[in-house]
């Protein structure tokens, strides 16, 4: 049981890490193209588009790297859930507003559709699993490492 749980934990971590590093990387390589994609969403004030396009991809990469090395995994897995939720809501809003925008998620030739929304939402499965699993793991750890009750005090 523990082996299956460990394997799933590892799989979810690596999958999310690869996704975040890849999606960050394509944006870092083409920040202006990413800026065009952000403009297409018609949600961000124009003066914020370039700073977001320039810096946001580094957050994705940092998140991916943290997931790979397993640093502060409890917090970064929550970060992954938050980010994926944010993307999914953003895509839903844009789709239902009827705006013909480019997702800019995995490539820059990827118009927003139910397929892109489903794909992003699907990534929430490993992210939520990882967040819950690491939470439970750290809770179990806290329980098992709690100091034993002082027998003297009981007596």
């Amino acid at each position: 049981m523990t082996m299956i749980r460990n394997s799933l934990h590892w799989l979810a971590r690596m999958l999310l890490a690869v996704v975040f590093i890849y999606t960050g990387y394509i944006k870092v390589k083409a920040p202006l193209q990413f800026a065009v994609a952000i403009t297409g969403y018609q949600l961000v004030p124009e003066n914020l588009i370039w700073p977001i396009a320039n810096y946001f991809p580094w957050i994705e990469i940092a998140l991916g790297l943290a997931l790979i090395i397993g640093w502060k995994i409890r917090y970064f897995s929550l970060g992954a859930v938050g980010l994926l939720l944010f993307f999914t809501v953003l895509l839903l809003i844009t789709y239902f507003r009827g705006i013909d925008a480019n997702c800019g998620c995995f490539s820059f030739d990827d118009p927003i559709s139910l397929k892109t929304i489903f794909r992003d939402a699907l990534l929430l499965v490993p992210a939520v699993f990882l967040a819950v699993e690491t939470h439970l793991r750290s809770r179990d750890k806290t329980r098992t490492s709690a100091p034993a009750a002082d027998p003297a005090a009981i007596a």
């Binding site: 990387y25 390589k29 920040p31 202006l32 193209q33 800026a35 297409g40 124009e46 700073p51 990469i61």
Partner: protein, 203 residues
Amino acid sequence: MFGKMKSTAFLTLLFTGLAVPVQSDETPGQILGGSLNAPIKLEVFSDFECSACREFYLRTIRPLLQEYCSKDKVCVVYYEYPLSYHKYARQAALYSEAASRLGQQKLLPVLDSLFTDQAEWSQDGSLDATVAKALPQEDFQKLKKIMQDSSIKAAIEKQVELGVRREVNSTPTTFIYYIGKRQKVEGLVTYLVMKQFIDSIVK
């Protein structure tokens, strides 16, 4: 310490430095402003009948010419890329290419006029009237004469071929060259975004 420096350098190289120093190539388009030695070069593949190209030219390129090309921080080169499903785009490109032979001073008013009055001439093909408004009568006659030259058509073909080679799939497509890198951008970049990008490279 050294390990940390090495990993930082590795990451920097991985994410920003993978682009091999790039020089833009051969076919000369029409230089709209700035010199070819400017630190940033924009090569714009555009179609006169496309509405995003109109927006890009009037709202982004025009202010760039005024603000940055005049100070030689940016060079803008225009490439004809008329799309086959636009009825009058290739004809409009002929006027523009011919105007470039009259010099930059004559070319810009022609481009301004073609893009500004796009809605009119794209309905009825009244390109003569549109371009005639932009130039003195004498220059317009010269332009009409130049348009007969077969080299005009050939120059447009060459630019289209270059676009095909560079996998231009839509208009406007802009290739931006700066500090040894190249970015391909499909679609409309607003002036403010372009300005912030340029300011982050050349102060």
